[in-house]
Each structure stands twice: as C-alpha cells, then as structure tokens.
C-alpha cells in the first residue's frame, strides 16, 4: 500500500472517529483566540539577505520567502491528501470560495460576495471575475460545482461530511453558484476554507481517475503561487501566478519550502536567517525559549484559530479494561497534565477541560474536572477490582508512540511515568508513519497520542438548529456527558510557535494562518 492511500485511510478513519465519538467537539465558529505574543522583542538588526524588493502602493512587491515543510508531503493536491504538510503547501496552490478572519468570520476568497436564504437552505456565491488556473484556463462556476459536489465528496473525507448535504447545485452564469442544501446546516458557510474546499480544474479532472491523474504531479490550482519545481528530499519551489485575479497580489515572487527532516538543522536554519518562517512543529518546543531571543523574528501562536488543535490520549475503548468508565476516569486522575505541559511542551499549551476548545463558541466550562490525584485513581482502580500485583502493577497496557517527532516520544515517556505511579504499567512501542496509520486505523493499538484539528463540522441536532441558545444548551449537555464518560483523555489545547521574520507581513492575518494562500504576504 503506498503512502497516499494509507494516509487517506487514516483520514477516513479519523473522520469516522470524529463522527462517532468526537463530533460534539465540533463547532464552526470560534471566538477570537486571546493569544498574547509569546514575547515582544524590540526591533533590532535584521539579517542581511538580499531580497530584491520593489516598492508598490501599500505593500512591497517581490522577494523570496524561504520556509520549511516538515515532513515532506507525498503529493501537493489538497483535494486528494489532507495531511498537514500537504495542506500547508497546497494552500498556496489551491484556493476555495471563502477565507476566514481570525475570529472566523467569512471573508471573500474566490467568491467576492455570498447570500444565504432566510430558511438557511440556499447559498448563492458570486465569484470574482477573471480567475484563472495556473494553466491559463478560466475558473468558472462549473469548476466550483464539480470540485465540491463531485470530486471532493469522493476524495476528501471531511469535505464529504459537509458537501454531501448539497441537494442541488446550479450555475446560472459563469460567475454564480447556487447550492441548495438538503436540510438547514449552520456550519456550511464556515466550511469553505482552502483545506476543506479547494477548487480544482474541471477540465483536468472530470471523468478521470482522480488519484491517478497525471496532472497531480503538476498540481494545477488557481492560487497565488504555482509549482515550479519539486526536488524530492530537497525543496518545493513555488513561483508567482501572474494571472492572479486580485490586483497586485501576490506580492512575493517566490516561496521555497525546504525539506529539513532534522530538528537541530531546522533550528540552525532559523538562527542563520536562511528561512523567514516556521510553522507547526518545525521548531521543537524545547528550542522555543532559546530561539525566541533571536532579535529578527516575531513569535506568535496565532494563525491556528480555524483549526483550534486539541491534543488527547487515545484509548481504545474496545480493549479491556479501557471499556470500563472507571478505568478511563482513573487515567484522567493519574495524568499530571500541569507538569506535562511544563516539562514536555515547555508551557506552550493550555490544559483542556473537555472535548471543546475554550477558544470556541460553544465551550462549556461547567464540566467535571478531574485534576491530578493518584489517590483517586488508585481508589477507582481498587473499585474495579484491579489490585496491584506483587510488583505493584495492576495492569499492563501498550502505548504506541506516534512517529511524528521527538516531542511525541517525550510525551509517551511522561505518560508512562505518570500512570505508573497509579500502578498502570505502560509499555512503549515505536513504529514508522505508515505503521502507525495502519495500526491506528485498524484499532490495533491500546493507547496512542493523537491530535485532531477541530474543523467546522457537524453535530447533527445542534448544527441543524439555527437558534443559538438551543445550540449552546445542546452542546453543553453533550460536553458534560462526554467529560463524565472520558472516551479519550483530553489533554491540551495545543499551541504552536510560528516564527516570522519581522520584515514579513500578513502571515497570520487570517484564521487559517499558515495554511492560507499567502497572496497578501509581503516583505515590508
């Protein structure tokens, strides 16, 4: 099985998981995240890289943005693969109908305006004129309808869950798209970002086998940057799409994503000023404090508002004794999350109280709080009849370390020590990316770490109600039930350090942040 199909399978499985267990933590509109900058260093000397800039009205045109992509994506077509690196890179190549502000209000994307009918069923989008794909062909309402109702519902698990609600789609003219939903679905307007609804060229994909289409290698979208060259293992070179529909944009001439698998080398590249931007886990948590002192970078945790990533300890509830609520509660008590946040993540994340991020709209703070208590954990285990053996161990479980970097291994080691104090013996297991995806999607694990991005999605009943008060009531109820039941151990509202060269502007101007198209990013 190749990597792409493996990942697709994982994505499907995750989508399923979200639908079955996790769907309550979905919320489509998230409040502005009150992130303080990690630090505010006064402006100081900038590293002297010749950028070749020319001043234009408002923003500076030109320049090359060097950044990191880690790990190397298997493909750049975001409609076919939704792993994080693919989305980060593909966001520059493929655009969608809307963009979102940091407080997650819709903003014009490919669509310059939109209307929702009072019954919440009909959505009308007006596209910008003169949008072209990278191959020069115009992007019309036909491409939008094809992408969202034909291709994405087949290839993109998350998009399928939303766009399959479209009952009827019409294209009265080349620039107008009208979607009629099967039933009212409040989150629809917030699920049109470039990671969920990338618009692909119909003339290339219609009637072909999407995944085997030879054009996948060229990744033709309508975004501000087009693929010039992809040297496997070295870099992905994107250049300006000259036919871009927004006046003067994109400002940058080139974006180069360098593939640097080694964490120490990534930090070094940042220190030497060879790159002007990092994202997600590019800089390991233990390096953040040290590198934050560099004078020419701004460090922010903004730009992840749309994703509001949540981190949790995944327990396979199909395996004994994790099918017992008391056991899961014992784990929730035994995990010293405060100390874990400080030691493993160096104080970056906030401890999660339940499935819904506190930064999102329907967050319910009044849920059961577990808190760290080995005594309570032991009492629950005693109650279950899991008495300690002669070696002090009550039960031995396996923990599969996600193979996405050192911090996951440290987290596994921390969890093992923490649970060990309550007599829950953890055996760590390591595997590679493909192996992890396989074991995880086949329920062939006992515990593993997981990170799920809370995209705007559904929880049927609440989503189809337009009355906000009723929705809050419903979401609160579900959060309380879930936190009592702890199917997984919610650990952190993850935060990622984005290092941005101080000359670089507009990187985190939207809620999609570093996955965004970067059309308005410029060197100032």
């Amino acid at each position: 099985m190749n990597l792409t199909s493996r990942c697709k399978k994982k994505d499907d499985r995750q989508a399923l998981l979200r639908l079955v267990i996790v769907s309550v933590n979905e919320e489509e509109i998230m409040n502005r995240r009150e992130f303080a900058k990690l630090m505010g260093v006064s402006a100081a000397a900038l590293s002297g890289i010749p950028l070749g800039l020319t001043r234009a009205a408002g923003a500076t045109k030109g320049g090359t943005l060097n950044t990191i992509i880690q790990p190397e994506p298997p493909i750049l077509v975001t409609a076919l693969n939704q792993q994080q690196p693919t989305l980060t890179l593909g966001g520059k190549i493929y655009e969608s109908l809307l963009r979102y502000s940091p407080d997650l209000k819709p903003m014009p994307g490919l669509a310059q305006s939109w209307e929702v009918s009072p019954d919440g069923l009909t959505y009308t989008f007006k596209l910008f004129p003169n949008i072209t794909f990278h191959d020069g062909k115009p992007l019309t309402s036909e491409d939008v309808v094809f992408s969202m109702t034909k291709m994405l519902v087949e290839t993109h698990a998350r998009a399928r869950a939303i766009y399959s609600r479209i009952a009827k789609s019409e294209t009265p003219d080349r620039l107008t798209v009208v979607f009629t939903l099967k039933a009212p679905f409040a989150p629809f307007l917030t699920a049109l970002d470039c990671t969920t609804g990338p618009i692909v060229p119909k003339h290339i994909y219609d009637g072909s086998d999407y995944r085997k289409n030879p054009a996948n290698a060229q990744a033709i979208g309508s975004g501000p940057f087009k693929l010039k060259e992809w040297v496997k293992g070295s870099h992905v070179h994107l250049v300006r799409h000259d036919g871009y529909y927004r006046k003067d944009e994109p400002y940058l001439d080139e974006v180069i994503y360098r593939i640097i698998p080694d964490a120490a080398s990534r930090s070094l590249a940042l220190e030497q000023g060879k790159i002007q931007l990092t994202q997600w886990n590019d800089i390991e948590f233990y390096d953040v404090a040290r590198l934050s002192k560099l004078p020419n970078y701004e460090v922010t945790t903004k730009g992840y508002e749309y994703f509001a990533p949540h981190q949790w300890l995944e327990l396979n509830n199909r395996v004994k004794p994790m099918d017992d609520k008391r056991f899961r509660q014992a784990i929730a008590h035994a995990l010293d999350l405060k100390s874990m946040a400080a030691r493993v993540y160096f104080g970056m994340p906030k401890i999660a109280t339940g499935p819904v991020s506190s930064k999102t709209k329907f967050y319910e703070p009044d849920v059961k709080r577990y808190g760290y208590s080995v005594e309570k954990a032991k009492a629950l285990l005693d109650d279950m009849g899991l008495k300690p053996g002669p070696d002090g161990k009550r039960v031995t479980l396996k923990y599969l370390i996600p193979p996405y970097g050192e911090v996951y291994q440290r987290a596994g080691e921390f969890i093992r020590q923490s649970l060990g104090r309550a007599g829950i013996d953890i055996q760590l297991e390591t595997t590679d990316v493909g192996g992890w995806a396989d074991q995880f999607s086949n329920w062939d694990y006992e515990m593993t770490g997981n990170l799920v991005y809370q995209y705007g999605r559904l929880f049927e009943e609440a989503a189809s109600t337009i009355d906000e008060a009723k929705r809050q009531e419903f979401y609160s109820k579900v959060q309380k039930i879930l936190v009592e039941d702890v199917p997984v151990i919610w650990m952190f509202e993850a935060a990622y350090p984005t290092f941005i060269d101080k000359r670089l502007k507009n990187v985190t101007s939207t809620g999609v942040g570093i996955h965004e198209s970067f059309s308005s990013v410029y060197f100032g």
Binding site: Y286, D287, R410, E413, Q427, E429, T430
Partner: protein, 276 residues
C-alpha cells in the same frame, strides 16, 4: 593459572580490567545508588551538572542523567554479553562444523557465512530491528546475527589447523564420536583466539546497540546509553551534559573491553607471551 599471572603483569590489560570492573560495579549497584526509576522526573529540566542532587545534571524532562548512566550500564552490559554469547554460539557451531567435516559441508557453511559477510552488518541490524520491532530481545538477536561471521571463520581456521594433528587423529582412531572429538579434543585447544575475539565482540555489540538506540531503534522502555545520546542530540546546544556523559560512559566501557581483549590476546598467544 599461568595465563592469569601473565595477565596480572600486563599493564594496559589491567587498566582495562580496572575500568571494566568499575562499570560492572556501577551496573550492579545501580538499584542501590539510584533506587528511583531512571525515567522518573526528579528535578527541573535542563539542570547543569553539580546541581543539588543531580551530579551530572538533568535532561529535558528533568530526569537524572547520572541515574540514567548507572541503569544504562546494566542494559549495555547485558546486551553486550548476551548478544556476544548468541554470536559465539552461532559462529562457533558453524565454524566448528565446517572446519571439522570439511568438503561439501564446509563449502555450504562458508558460502552461507560469506553471504552474511557481504551484507554491511549495521545496515542488516537496522533492517532486522526495524522489521521485527524495537524490543530488547530483537536487538540482541540482530546483533548476534550480524556479528557471528568473523567468529565462524576464525573457528573454522583453528579447527582446520588442529584437524590433522596427531592427538586428534588418535582420538578419531580410538573411535571417539565426532561430538566428543570436537568438544573435548579440538575446542579446548582452539579456545584462546575465540575468547579474544569474543571479548572484542562485546565492545562492538555495545556500540551497535548504542547506534541502534541513537537512531530510535532501541527498546523505548529501557534506559540505555545510546538512547540517552539520541534524545540529547537535538538539544546538545542547550545541554551538552546530556550527551557528553553517556558518550564518555560508552567510550570508557568499549575502551576497557578492548584493552582487556588485547591483554588476553597477548597472554594467550604463545608466541607473544613466551617473550615476556
């Protein structure tokens, strides 16, 4: 006895033995010196050496580096010894069979040995551990599999040399069984170079294990020196002590074993020892 006496007079061999005994002592006394689990986070992260209670500092989670080295000594020595015994078993069996019987048997055995010798040892070890899964038993197995061919060739050469000697032929003529001849007549006379090579193999086994752990292919449940260095590598600029001390531990241990091995070689080799 004469060998022992000779060894006691061998200066570098004794230095090696001294360090080796120190490491063994450290490994044996680890549970008393550091009664806590070496994985326990006992202090603040990134504490430099000589911080109170942390002689050698702490790592990124606040684990005691000294405790890690003491407990890691157990793992490294256990892996070194057991995997060497594994490779000795395979190597001596193959070499003895080939050397004693000769002919077709020898042909087959040696082609098999060459097959293993042509594959780069460390690459094969990585492949085996990655395929079988990073568990201590698999690590030992992998090291055993990649380090037996030199032992087999050495044993074969010794056996071929002794096979034609009168005392062996006499034993065969008396009707002693092949097994008896091999184990009671030839092996005791061939054992010296095997012991020397075997002792050096312990050192290389420790190195292979460290390299595997460094690459993240060690058993994630065991605190070993290679693991400590592997985890410390990325933070070397913040915390040099996390990689330097386990590195010194590996260096000293491997050096000590090599010195002991050379000392044994000198005193067991009749030509060299007679000159003393």
């Amino acid at each position: 006895m004469t060998i022992l006496k000779a060894f006691l007079r061998h200066p570098t061999g004794m230095i090696g033995l001294f360090f080796l005994l120190c490491v063994v002592l450290l490994a044996v006394s680890a549970p008393w010196l550091f009664p806590d689990d070496p994985w326990d986070m006992v202090g603040a992260p990134f504490q430099p050496p000589l911080t109170e209670g942390l002689w050698l500092g702490s790592d990124m989670l606040g684990r005691d580096v000294a405790a890690g080295i003491a407990h890691g000594a157990r793992i490294s020595l256990i892996i070194g010894v057991i995997s060497t015994l594994t490779s000795l078993t395979i190597g001596v069996t193959v070499g003895a069979t080939a050397g004693y019987f000769g002919g077709k048997v020898d042909e087959i055995m040696m082609r098999l040995t060459e097959l293993f010798q042509t594959i780069p040892g460390f690459v094969l070890a990585i492949l085996l551990v990655a395929t079988l899964g990073p568990k201590i038993s698999n690590v030992i197995f992998a090291i055993g599999i990649v380090s037996w061919p030199p032992l087999a060739r050495l044993t074969r050469a010794e056996f071929m040399r002794l096979r034609g000697r009168e005392f062996v032929q006499a034993a065969v003529c008396q009707g002693q069984r092949a097994m008896t001849v091999v184990l009671r007549r030839i092996l005791p006379n061939a054992i010296s170079p095997i012991i020397v090579t075997g002792s050096l193999a312990v050192a290389s086994a420790i190195l292979i294990e460290s390299a595997l752990s460094f690459m993240g292919l060690g058993d994630p449940n065991l605190m070993s020196w290679g693991f400590m260095i592997g985890a410390a590598r990325t933070v070397i600029r913040q915390a040099w002590w996390m990689s330097v001390f386990p590195g010194l531990a590996i260096l000293l241990t491997v050096l000590a074993i090599n010195l002991v091995g050379e000392g044994l070689n000198d005193v067991m080799n009749p030509r060299i020892s007679r000159r003393r």
